[in-house]
Every structure is written in structure tokens, then in C-alpha cells.
């Protein structure tokens, strides 16, 4: 991207509130993957004569989201009807909030790699219901129709609209990560994009530094954070190229096509909407009195930023490990549980590193959920393992092997250790024997060390470790070898 150009981007994020029932009826929200139209009733399919009744649980979660994102919360907000025809929209209007949304003027701290963290302003958060889902019969002349599944219709959402404060695709990516993290921590949403629990639309324009905002383009069909980043990158370059040729940017909606890695204009007919918003006469104003807001504030857990700071200060974790371990509420809770077993100041950094390197590596390697691993490697057993390291009974190398075994079998670390011959060998006679044998096996390294190449000692330590079958402590071996070779 040319240095003189600046990206102006704002994101609209739809997030599913983690309620058990829908926003305006008592149908269950667990319809993802269930058979189509198995979570429906007269209300959420828009039968004649039905009326909406607000789910208080959704209000509470939306208030929590607003608090977690530092918004001002309106005591009285208004539900409005957004009118448009589409087969997935049962009433031909969506109940949303328009002129008076629940919350406004929030902010979110965003950490971008290699840059100081910045604050992205939030314009508004409002509550709305989801539409159903169309299933198109593709690629068949015979199946010239679409099917509609209303399991999603009426699912509670909040739409979180950022201010146009985002300046790069990387910032957009980091913003989404921070948003997801904070909403998961607050217990507001699971934010599972694959289940459609988090959806993103992006608004983007380009300007030369110091100039007013240019014409913005909306990008839809962004199915992952990566898609958002890639689409913004592409669209930014497309707009610069057009502007540099003297062309004007048309205000339009474009769709991201991940296969060809490009945006293309949506057919204009589909976006020529006048939504004719007006207050929904079926719903009284939504009250979020101070008492409710304060109650939700008390329920709000420690948010990621605060937790990260605590992990660094109390557990002595590095910034990067702390960042990894606060990546989800579940993971951070796990770390806290392990820390209760271990000695925070000395042993927890070790535990943290084990979790960050071995445990998470194992998860991504096998694409498993953290929750499945927590069942297998409880905080207690990981704590025990950490204490074995702290007491010098096993080496770090060995601890990784034992953890791998724990992940596979779910067995107790001490049991595994016993089976492997009781852990690290500290017996000096045995150690001395391995050291001497290793020296005998490595004449070249010995000569190098003696001629001043201290680093060559690594090869001798390695040989000794091999002889000990990993049961020796490399630090001790190193010390013994140095003593042996000392002039």
C-alpha cells in the first residue's frame, strides 16, 4: 500500500447472545446442526396474530456486553421494525433498534503486533433478532428452488458498530480478536464463527493523510477474521488503484470471494432498500434501570486486559505467554486453577510455559477443544507435574514427554514417572559414570572445549543425556563435565 494513503475502516459485528431461548419466544437456541425447522413456533415463523415478548436474559447479556465495552447505557431504548422482504425473514421485518439503541460511545483497547496498543471507539450496541437461513439447491436443473430453515430466526443478537477508527487490515484483525476475547470473557457470547455466532461486515474508504473521509464501500460475506483482513487488504488496494487513476469510488456493497481473493459488487437491486424504520408498537420501550446495570456490573468477570496484567505481575509470566493464556476465558480460568495448586511466584511461570507450548500445541495438532483436554489433564495433575519440575525431580524435557503422555492417556503424572523409573537420576556415582563415558565417546568435542570453544560442551552433554536415556539433569551434567575437563 502506498505510504501516502490511509485506510479508514469501521466494522459492524453481529454477535449471538448466549441465551437458551430466542429473543421473542421460548424456542431453544441450540438449533445449529439440528434438523431444519425443529426449533420453531408460531412467533418465530411470523404466523398471523403473534406478538413478541422480550427475553430478559438477552437484555442482561446485552447490558453486560455494553459494560464490558465501556459504553453508556440508555435507561430507555426503543425497539424498531426494519422492513424488507426476504424469504428468510418471517415477518418481513426484523425487530431491531434504530434511533435509540441500548448503548453508545464505548471503546476497545486493541493490541497490534509491534505497535503500541490503540483504542477503537464504539459507536453503538443494539439488540436485534436474527433471520432464518436459506438453503439453495445448487448445481441441479431439477432442484430449481430454495429451502428455508427458521431455527435461527429470532435468535438474539447484538450488533456492535465501531467508529471509523481502524486504520489497517491488521488493526481490523486485532480489533476482532480483542472483541471476541472480551465477549467470551464476559460470558456474553461463545463467538463461534462457524456456527454463525459472530458475523462481520466491514466499511472501508481510503484517503490521503489529512484529507476528509472518502466514499465508503461496505464489504459482506466475511466468514473469518482472516477473510476480513484479506478483504480489507484487497479492497484498499483496489480503491487506491482506482483513485490514483482519477476514478471515483461508488458507494456500494461488495461481496468478498475467498476463492478468488477479491471483492465484487453485489447486485444493486438487492441493496436498494428503504427500511422504513418505525418504533415497534408491539413492544414497550426497553428499560435498563441503574439497578439492573449495577447488578450486571457486579456479575461481570475480570476482563482480559486486567487478567493479562495480573498474570504478568502475580504469576511472573512473560507478556507474550500472558497474551496466549488470556486468549479465552476457559484457558485463563484453567491457568488460574493450576496456579492454585502450584506456588504462584516460582512454579506458575513453568506451568504457564507448559500450557502455552505443549498443551496448546497438542490441541492445534489434533484440532481438539480445550474443554476436552481439561477433562483429561485436570488443573490438579498439571499442578503436580509443575511441582515435580520445581523440585528438580524431572527435567523440562522429560516434563514435556510426561505431559504428552498425560494428554494421551489422562493418567496421573507421578504414576507415569514411576513407570519410567522414578524420574531424574540424581545419584552422583551414576552421573559420573555417564559423564566419563560421554567424554570417552567425544574426543573431538573434548579437544575443542580444551582449546577454548566452550560451546562444544553441548555435544558432550548430549551424549551423556543419551546414555542416561533422558533421566539426567542437563544442567548438572554440564557442571560435572566442566569440572571433569577443568585443567
Amino acid at each position: 500500500m502506498s505510504a501516502t494513503w490511509e485506510m479508514i475502516c469501521g466494522l459492524e459485528v453481529h454477535v449471538q447472545l448466549a441465551t437458551r431461548s430466542k429473543l421473542f419466544c421460548s424456542c431453544a437456541t441450540d438449533g445449529f446442526g439440528a434438523s431444519p425447522n425443529s426449533r420453531i413456533c408460531p412467533v418465530c415463523t411470523g404466523q398471523p396474530g403473534v406478538l413478541p415478548v422480550l427475553n430478559d436474559g438477552a437484555t442482561k447479556l446485552a447490558v453486560k456486553a455494553a459494560l464490558a465495552l465501556g459504553c453508556e447505557i440508555r435507561e430507555e431504548s426503543i425497539f424498531a421494525r426494519k422492513n424488507y422482504f426476504y424469504p428468510d425473514l418471517p415477518k418481513a421485518y426484523q425487530i431491531s433498534q434504530y434511533e435509540k439503541p441500548l448503548a453508545e460511545n464505548g471503546s476497545l483497547a486493541v493490541a497490534v503486533k509491534d505497535a503500541p496498543s490503540k483504542t477503537v471507539g464504539l459507536q453503538r450496541i443494539h439488540i436485534e433478532e436474527d433471520a432464518g437461513k436459506l438453503l439453495h439447491a445448487i448445481g441441479s436443473e431439477d432442484l430449481d428452488y430454495s429451502l428455508v430453515d427458521f431455527n435461527r430466526a429470532g435468535i438474539p443478537l447484538v450488533e456492535i458498530v465501531s467508529k471509523p477508527d481502524i486504520r489497517s487490515p491488521h488493526e481490523a484483525y486485532a480489533y476482532l480478536q480483542a472483541l471476541k476475547e472480551i465477549l467470551q470473557f464476559a460470558g456474553v457470547s461463545h463467538c463461534d464463527m462457524e456456527k454463525g455466532e459472530m458475523r462481520v461486515d466491514a466499511n472501508i474508504s481510503m484517503r490521503r493523510a489529512g484529507e476528509p473521509f472518502g466514499t465508503r464501500v461496505e464489504i459482506k460475506n466475511l466468514n473469518s477474521f482472516k477473510a476480513v483482513r484479506d478483504a480489507l487488504d484487497y479492497e484498499g488496494r483496489r480503491q487506491i488503484a482506482a483513485l490514483e487513476k482519477g476514478e471515483r469510488i461508488i458507494q456500494e456493497t461488495r461481496l468478498w470471494d475467498a476463492d478468488v481473493q477479491a471483492t465484487a459488487p453485489m447486485r444493486t437491486k438487492e441493496e436498494a432498500h428503504d427500511y422504513r424504520y418505525f418504533p415497534d408498537p408491539d413492544l414497550p420501550p426497553l428499560h435498563a434501570p441503574r439497578s439492573l446495570v449495577e447488578a450486571m456490573r457486579r456479575e461481570l468477570p475480570e476482563l482480559p486486559e486486567a487478567r493479562r496484567r495480573r498474570f504478568i505481575e502475580d504469576y511472573g509470566l512473560s507478556v507474550s505467554i500472558a497474551n496466549v493464556l488470556t486468549g479465552s476465558r476457559e484457558l485463563a480460568d484453567y491457568v488460574d486453577a493450576v496456579a492454585e495448586i502450584t506456588n504462584p511466584a516460582t512454579a506458575t511461570p513453568t506451568a504457564g510455559n507448559l500450557i502455552a507450548t505443549v498443551l496448546l500445541g497438542f490441541l492445534s495438532e489434533r484440532s481438539l477443544d480445550l474443554s476436552r483436554v481439561i477433562g483429561r489433564v485436570t488443573p490438579e495433575s498439571l499442578g503436580k507435574l509443575t511441582l515435580l519440575i520445581a523440585d528438580g525431580r524431572i527435567s523440562k524435557t522429560m516434563s514435556k514427554e510426561i505431559l504428552a503422555e498425560m494428554l494421551n492417556s489422562g493418567r496421573d503424572p507421578e504414576e507415569i514417572l514411576k513407570e519410567r523409573g522414578g524420574g531424574q537420576v540424581l545419584d552422583e556415582a551414576q552421573l559420573a559414570q555417564w559423564v566419563r563415558a560421554a567424554i570417552d565417546q567425544s574426543p573431538k568435542a573434548v579437544a575443542d572445549v580444551k582449546s577454548g570453544k566452550e560451546r562444544a560442551i553441548g555435544a558432550i552433554v548430549g551424549a551423556a543425556m543419551k546414555l542416561s536415556q533422558g533421566k539426567a539433569n542437563p544442567t548438572i551434567l554440564n557442571k560435572l563435565i566442566k569440572e571433569e575437563l577443568a585443567p
Binding site: 408460531p42 415463523t45 411470523g46 404466523q47 398471523p48 396474530g49 403473534v50 406478538l51 413478541p52 415478548v53 422480550l54 421494525r81 422492513n83 422482504f85 424469504p87 418471517p90 415477518k91 418481513a92 421485518y93 428455508v148 428503504d274 422504513r276 424504520y277 418505525f278 415497534d280 408498537p281 408491539d282 413492544l283 414497550p284
Partner: protein, 501 residues
């Protein structure tokens, strides 16, 4: 007083058509009457006379008899019978009854089978009422003559060739003709009170929120309210007692003050009651002098009974019709959007694409008046016009509401004609929508203000057409309304069709 009573009207044979709901319920409860016999009598009357009147879109012969037999069985087995035991009730066809067709008087719902009971229907059933059928209406309750029904018009039982009023014309005609002692309608701008007036019966529009709208197919959600038709004031009180209940399924519903008890103290009279006569209502455009004089005579009777009568003023009355014809169509344009041919109702399945499916289904399914109002409402809400029309109408609505608040500082009730004219001839106003809209000029303001109103028979014109007197009260003051209506009913005996007096 009796000089205004005309010669006895043509009598429709209706068996026990003169029995009030209260009398039927107490008779069935005590075992003096059998619900089956009562219902059979009404079904006979319907079979005989409804081919002429055409009040019903559907008659539940089997279902009603079965329900009546169940009531009788329950009594024989010593079960506790409800407050409407064995009472035949007719329902406007925009109220949903599980498993039956609810057309709303529209082609678009001609075959729509209700998957659930409206809250009021559930309440009626739980009090052992017997639903005998669904009555005709202007399509989606849009009209004042029932001529906008997509199926057929309904005759005024008092005067063949005349309209019964609307939009609940079928429910009003059914009660006037003695097909049922009571029925339910809905009132968005006068759709209960105006047909009650034109058919010479009692019709009550409760305070907005007093009766749940769940299961009433919405026309204009901020104005719609379900209410009873009856031949006696007491029966309307009885029905209101049953249907007035806070409903967890309707967020706009409210609990009745003191839990109802609407028939209690109904006979205490009007002594000391302050009744205001809104000047503007007596000077309404196109008022029939005979209507005004009948209403004034009724008011003199109330005054003679001890009411304190004085002139009142509702200064924004002139704006009510235009305000209503922005707000009601705006809400309707959104409420009726769901009839899109996708999930239920009429669907032009051979349409070549989605746009055509919408256009053809709605084009064929909706009648002219419904389309006119959808277009009006869509326009009023459109970007660029929203503030000038919809928003402004809402501001005027507030002024109209304040007019009433101001008037009710000095008066307990307001009294006026219900309709400026008696029943008009069929076809007379169909060519001119504006003249039809003006039929509701005296009833619309109460809907805009959310206050209750009742129409009570006042007398007959020289041509023998019924005149209705309208009483309006502050929100939730239905008891005052019913008390005054009852007093008037006792003082101004009114002939009934289909009675065996």
C-alpha cells in the same frame, strides 16, 4: 320517549334468540337449560336466516354441538361450569382458533389454518363458552361497511340492502339477528362501536391493553383492541370480565383494575355522573339530524336520571381522521408484509422469480382497499416522508390524547353519536373511499387516545334504522362506561330483532 320507537321490525325466527348470555350461562349451570339445545337453536337460526344475512364465513356445526355436549356432560358429572357455560359465541374471522380456517376476509388467507388459539379464544373456552362460527369482516378489518370482504357483503338485519357497518359487520349482524347472544370483534378506528350502532346492539371497545391482542391478526398494532358485541349491556360486562386479563404473550397488555368485576354495581345509575358533550362531535361533517336528535334525547334521559350534563370541547377532533389514516396504514403496511406467499397463505408458486412471487401472491391475494392502505402506509414511512407524515401524525396523536385528558378533568364520561349517520345503502360509499373513511370520524379519536368507548342503542330513525349513542371514558374506567350504558338501556327500551317478546 316511546314515540321514537317505530313499528315492530320484521321478526326473524330465532328460537331462543332473545336469551341473554347471562341467562343462558345461569340456566346451563343450574341445569334448567341444556347447552346442546341452546346451541342447536342458534345453529337452526343460522341455517335458516344466514343465507340472507350472510354474517358468517364459517359455522362450526359439528364442533359447536360437540363442545355443547361436553358442557352438558361436565355438568352431569358434577364438574364446575364456567361463567359462559353453554353460551354460543361468534368470532370475527381475524381471531385465531386452533385447527380452523381464519381468513381475515381475505383471499390471501383463504385456506390458512390456525396453529394456535388466540388468548381471548382460550379464555372463552376455559369458561365453557361454545364457539359457533367465524364472522364476516372487511378484509383485514379495513373498512366501515363489511363490503370490503373478499367473499361477500353482509346485510344489515334491520334493513336489507343496507350495510351492517364495519369492519366487524358480521359479528354485529350475527348478534342483531339473534344467531348468537354475544360475539367478539376488533376495533381499530371504530370497528366495534360503529357496526354496533348501525345494527342496534351494544358494542364495547375496551381500553388499549385491557384485552390481549395475541391471536388477533394485526391491522394497526397501536390501535387494535378486541371487544364484545351483545344485546344487553350486562352481557358486554360479562364478556369483558372473561377476556380482560394481563397476558404474558402480549407485552402491551395490562392488568384490569381490581380484577374486573365489570357487572358489579352496573345498576347503580348515573346520579351525579358528570357527562360532557363534545361540541365537535355534534357538528361533524355530514351528520344526520335524526341521529343527533335521537342522541340528544337519550342524553336528556340521562340528565333526568341525575347525570350532570354540560358541553365539552375536544379541539383537535378535526385532525383525527387524517392522523389515523397515516398511523394505521403505516403500521398495517408492516403488519401485512408477512403475507408474502412464502410460508403460508395464497402463493403464486409458478412465479418465475422471488420478486414475482411476492408481487403476484400479494397482487392476487389482497383487495383494493388493503392495497390502497399498504401503499399509503409505505409512503408515509418512506425515507424523506417519514418525518412529514408518520412523525407528524404521532405528534398530533399526542395532542388528541391530551384533549381527552383535559376533558376528563371536568367530566367522568363523554357522550356523542357513535356514527354521524345510520346504516347506509350497500355500494353507496364504495366508490368514494374518503366518504367511507368519514364514517369513523366519531370513533377514531378514542383509538388514538387508547381510551374505552361503548355504543348503546339510542333509538331508531324515521326509516327504522338504529342509532347508536357513544360513551367515552378515561383509560380503564370501563365500569363507569357500563354503568351509564346500563342506565340508558333501562330508560330507553330498544326493540330487538329475532326476539320472542
Amino acid at each position: 320517549m316511546s314515540k321514537t320507537l317505530p313499528p315492530k321490525p320484521r321478526r326473524l325466527k330465532g328460537g331462543d334468540g332473545a336469551l341473554s348470555a347471562a341467562a343462558i350461562a345461569s340456566g346451563v349451570r343450574s341445569g334448567e337449560a341444556s347447552a346442546e339445545e341452546i346451541v342447536r337453536g342458534r345453529l337452526d337460526a343460522i341455517r335458516k336466516d344466514d343465507p340472507t344475512i350472510k354474517a358468517f364465513l364459517a359455522v362450526f356445526e359439528d364442533g359447536a354441538l360437540e363442545a355443547a355436549r361436553a358442557v352438558d356432560r361436565k355438568r352431569r358429572e358434577g364438574g364446575k361450569l364456567g361463567r359462559l357455560a353453554g353460551v354460543p359465541v361468534a368470532l370475527k374471522d381475524n381471531l385465531l382458533v386452533t385447527g380452523t380456517i381464519s381468513t381475515c376476509g381475505s383471499r390471501i388467507l383463504e385456506n390458512y389454518r390456525s396453529p394456535y388459539d388466540a388468548t381471548v379464544v382460550g379464555l372463552l373456552k376455559s369458561e365453557d363458552a361454545v364457539i359457533i362460527g367465524k364472522t364476516n369482516l372487511d378484509e383485514f378489518a379495513m373498512g366501515s361497511s363489511t363490503e370490503n370482504s373478499s367473499f361477500f357483503p353482509t346485510q344489515n338485519p334491520w334493513a336489507p340492502g343496507h350495510v351492517p357497518g364495519g369492519s366487524s359487520g358480521g359479528s354485529a349482524a350475527a348478534v342483531a339477528a339473534g344467531f348468537a347472544p354475544v360475539s367478539l370483534g376488533s376495533d381499530t378506528g371504530g370497528s366495534i362501536r360503529q357496526p354496533a350502532a348501525l345494527c342496534g346492539i351494544v358494542g364495547l371497545k375496551p381500553t388499549y391493553g385491557l384485552v390481549s391482542r395475541y391471536g388477533l391478526v394485526a391491522f394497526a398494532s397501536s390501535l387494535d383492541q378486541i371487544g364484545p358485541f351483545s344485546r344487553t349491556v350486562e352481557d358486554s360486562a360479562l364478556l369483558l370480565d372473561v377476556i380482560a386479563a394481563k397476558d404474558p404473550r402480549d407485552s402491551t397488555s395490562k392488568a384490569a383494575p381490581r380484577n374486573g368485576g365489570y357487572a358489579e354495581g352496573i345498576e347503580t345509575g348515573v346520579k351525579g355522573l358528570r357527562i360532557g358533550l363534545p361540541r365537535q362531535y355534534f357538528e361533524a361533517q355530514g351528520s344526520d339530524p335524526e341521529v343527533v336528535s335521537s342522541v340528544r334525547e337519550s342524553i336528556r334521559a340521562l340528565e333526568a336520571a341525575g347525570a350532570v350534563v354540560a358541553e365539552a370541547s375536544l379541539p383537535h377532533t378535526d385532525y383525527a381522521v387524517s392522523t389515523y389514516y397515516l398511523i394505521a396504514p403505516a403500521e398495517a403496511s408492516s403488519n401485512l408484509a408477512r403475507f408474502d406467499g412464502v410460508r403460508y397463505g395464497l402463493s403464486e408458486k409458478n412465479a418465475p422469480d422471488l420478486g414475482a412471487l411476492y408481487e403476484e401472491s400479494r397482487g392476487v391475494g389482497f383487495g383494493a382497499e388493503v392495497k390502497r392502505r399498504i401503499m399509503l402506509g409505505t409512503y408515509a414511512l418512506s425515507a424523506g416522508y417519514h418525518d412529514a407524515y408518520y412523525e407528524k401524525a404521532n405528534r398530533v396523536r399526542t395532542l388528541i390524547r391530551r384533549d381527552f385528558e383535559e376533558a376528563f378533568k371536568s367530566f367522568d364520561l363523554l357522550a356523542a353519536p357513535t356514527s354521524p349517520v345510520p346504516a347506509f345503502k350497500m355500494g353507496e360509499r364504495m366508490k368514494d373511499p374518503l366518504s367511507m373513511y368519514l364514517a369513523d370520524i366519531l370513533t377514531i379519536p378514542a383509538n388514538l387516545a387508547g381510551i374505552p368507548g361503548i355504543s348503546v342503542p339510542s333509538g331508531l330513525t324515521s326509516k327504522g334504522l338504529p342509532v347508536g349513542l357513544q360513551l367515552l371514558a378515561p383509560a380503564f374506567a370501563e365500569k363507569t362506561l357500563l354503568r351509564a350504558a346500563f342506565a340508558l338501556e333501562s330508560m330507553r327500551p330498544f326493540p330487538r330483532l329475532g326476539s320472542r317478546d
